[in-house]
């Protein structure tokens, strides 16, 4: 066994981004539509408390809730935290306080941001009011933030029908997370070798099977694979399918053949497209070799070598 040198770790940026589209139930729809109209709604529980922001089910009793009430846009800070360096997506881009605010007329508190000159200007119990966003769409961000307020206290919550023209029925909440993907030791070695147009597997010290691509562990024995083994470049089609659906952004004419290919010396088959032969002439046992397009870091496809087909017994364990 040749212990492989510790490879330089591969890393690449990975962005996961998705515009989550969520539908709203009657309570959340009324609340968010209300924000668009500068009206703050809570919901009254069966035992008389006012939950704000409102929810459809009482977190204490699990009763279904629908008794909407309007509360004041003014309230009291119940706790706070000074955030000196705002992060992407947060309500303000200058230092601000996160606050839980109990609006006048409500019994529970809303999380939001408080625009204040500094931490010394913030305390639990301070009075604040909503600063509305200039453009409101029916989202929690229609509240731009809270701001200090020294006016009169709002009154009791008053009943509200929750009915608005053109109610908001859903929200789109874009989310983006940035990662640095590192594939680890085994896959880094595999990818680096592939860039040099060689395919490297790793042998399990216990069952001697050669895994390609290697992931660093033998899934049968549950032990680390470490011995480097060059496999291929030629291989055998063990099984295949004919693809008749054209994938978006994929410049391959249909029908084409997608196959399991056991590279010579490998203990299991990997996936690859088979080209250079009419799709209806691809068969189990066909001998193939990789075709690299220019500058490519992995084989574009596999083509027949012209050798006689492999005997079934030589690859039946790899199906």
């Amino acid at each position: 066994m040749t212990p492989a040198p510790s490879p330089e770790v591969l890393q690449a940026p990975l962005v996961v981004e998705f515009p989550f589209t969520r539908s709203l139930g009657p309570v959340q729809s009324a609340f968010l539509t209300g924000l668009r109209e500068r009206t703050v709604l809570g919901v009254r529980t069966t035992d008389g408390r006012v939950l704000m922001p409102p929810v459809e089910y009482d977190p204490v009793t699990a009763d279904e809730l629908s008794d909407l009430v309007e509360v004041a846009p003014t309230g009291t800070v119940t706790t706070w935290a000074w955030n000196p360096s705002p992060r992407r997506g947060q309500p303000l881009d200058t230092p601000f306080a996160w606050v839980l605010v109990r609006l006048d007329g409500a019994d529970t508190a809303l999380l939001h941001a408080l625009d204040a000159p500094g931490p010394d200007a913030v305390r639990t119990g301070m009075r604040v009011r909503i600063r509305w966003a200039g453009e409101r769409v029916g989202a929690i961000t229609d509240i731009a933030c809270f701001e200090p307020y020294d006016g009169a206290e709002g009154g009791e919550a008053v009943p509200h029908s929750g009915e608005f023209t053109d109610p908001v029925t859903g929200i789109v909440a874009p989310a983006r997370l940035d990662y640095t993907y590192a594939p680890g030791r085994a896959q880094s070695r595999y990818l680096k070798a592939l860039a040099d147009r060689t395919t490297r597997g790793e042998r399990c010290p216990s069952c001697r099977k050669v895994y390609v691509p290697p992931r660093g562990a033998c899934p049968t024995c549950g032990v680390a694979t470490d011995e480097q083994v060059e496999v291929g470049p030629r291989g055998t089609v063990t099984t295949f399918c004919i693809v008749n659906i054209k994938a978006r952004n994929l410049d391959i004419e249909v029908p084409y053949v997608y196959a399991h290919i056991a590279l010579d010396g490998a203990g299991l088959a990997l996936h690859g497209r088979v080209g250079g032969i009419p799709y209806d002439q691809v068969r189990m046992g066909l001998r193939v070799e990789p075709v690299w397009s220019e500058d490519s870091r992995y084989p574009d496809h596999y083509r027949p070598t012209g050798e006689p087909d492999a005997d079934y017994d030589t690859y039946k364990e790899l199906l």
Binding site: V9, Q11, L14, V16, F20, R22, L24, Q28, L32, L51, M52, P53, V55, P59, T78, T79, W80, A81, W82, N83, P84, R87, G89, Q90, P91, W98, V99, L100, R102, T108, A109, L111, H112, P119, T124, A139, I140, T141, I171, A173, L177, D178, Y179, T180, Y181, A182, P183, G184, R185, A186, Q187, R215, G216, A217, C218, P219, T220, C221, G222, V223
Partner: protein, 358 residues
């Protein structure tokens, strides 16, 4: 009720960045450590259960890759929870209680290094009212800490900034004896109070380190446990409870779910001599101590706790493992282990472990 015990525990050396290894490469030495400790091979375990989160890796079904490390072929009986491994242990425990299995392997892991953890964790929040504001995990903990400092009974509970610093200093000093810890050693509390705030009222020492790590335990029932371990850590009771997801509904200075879980786990039936609390923020230890009624005589987090190493999805399982390991080596007779998940101690699990009288 059938007796079930933790018979082996292992963990990785927790580090800020482990880019040179994949999840399974990080996990595998830990799996081998616990299996070797009980002399079993992967295929001889009856049930396997794991905890992890796709959001840390930024890849769907990332846990399936880790299955390579447990030898999932030929097929094994396996399950996964998308949260801390402490909850995977709970699932395995119930499986053993039913008599369907004699042994179980529980593992969990998390690599926070690929992403920005404070942003990643916003994705576990209410998606309508809270997540669109992107409140990061440290800020939410800071809201809880301020609530504790401002509470009417703050004086009674001893909650002031010096008390928070004392938790940090004690934990990280204790971690000097823990070879796996990510952060060890600390200036005295008074010196810590001169540090700037990270998110007021929390300073850096009030917050857990961000890092990568893995942990694993082996569970066994009855005589099998006695055969595999000289002094099994018997699970006398275990329970987990959750609270409302809306932070503004909860009294952030209390943790009724922890108290209830502890009561149902039998924690109050007799005093414990050791407690491993999963309190990633200093203020949370004060809250947990009060709910659990832990007196001065109880050794809390001799491992250093989550303030010394907090690998996401593994730190709770590590609390169970550290408590069990103390029993294994005779350093504790009756221990309490706690795990938390979610913002501001939203979900809490409590287990009571005991060793046989030697």
């Amino acid at each position: 009720m059938r007796e079930v015990a933790i018979v082996a525990f292992g963990q990785s050396d927790h580090r800020r960045d482990s880019a040179e290894v994949s999840e399974v490469e990080m996990l595998m030495p830990v799996l081998h450590e616990v299996l070797d400790a009980v002399g079993l091979r992967a295929g001889e375990i009856d049930f396997t259960c794991s905890g992890s989160s796709d959001y840390l890796a930024g890849r769907a079904f990332s846990f399936t890759m880790a299955l390579d490390g447990v030898g999932a072929w030929p097929p094994i009986s396996e399950s996964h929870v998308e949260m801390d491994g402490a909850w995977a242990l709970y699932e395995a425990w119930t499986r053993l209680l039913t008599g369907e299995a004699e042994t179980a392997l529980v593992y969990s892991y998390g690599k926070s290094s690929p992403g920005d953890l404070r942003e990643v964790l916003t994705r576990q929040l209410d998606p309508y009212y809270v997540a669109p504001l992107w409140p990061d995990s440290v800020s939410l903990a800071a809201l809880q800490a301020q609530a504790l400092l401002d509470a009417e009974d703050a004086e009674d509970s001893g909650a002031d900034e010096r008390a928070l610093a004392a938790v940090a200093a004690r934990s990280r000093t204790a971690a000097e004896d823990n070879p796996h810890a990510q952060v060890t050693g600390s200036p005295p509390p008074e010196a810590l109070l001169n540090e700037p705030y990270l998110v007021r009222p929390l300073r850096r020492h009030d917050c857990p380190p961000v890092g990568d790590g893995a942990a694993a335990v082996v569970l066994a029932a009855g005589d099998t446990a006695r055969r595999l371990c000289r002094r099994p850590a018997w699970i006398r009771g275990m329970d987990h409870r959750t609270e409302a997801h809306s932070l503004g509904v909860r009294d952030l200075t209390r943790s009724p779910s922890t108290r209830l879980a502890a009561e149902r786990a039998g924690a109050f039936e007799a005093p414990v001599d050791l407690a491993e609390l999963h309190a990633p923020f200093t203020s949370q230890e004060l809250i947990l101590r009060r709910e659990l009624g832990l007196g001065e005589g109880v050794r809390v987090n001799p491992s250093g706790g989550a303030l010394a190493a907090n690998p996401m999805m593994a730190a709770g399982l590590i609390r169970l493992g550290e408590a069990a390991a103390a029993i294994h080596r005779g350093a504790a007779d009756r221990a309490l282990a706690h795990a938390t998940s979610g913002p501001c101690l939203q979900q809490n699990l409590v287990a009571v472990l005991e060793g046989d009288v030697l």
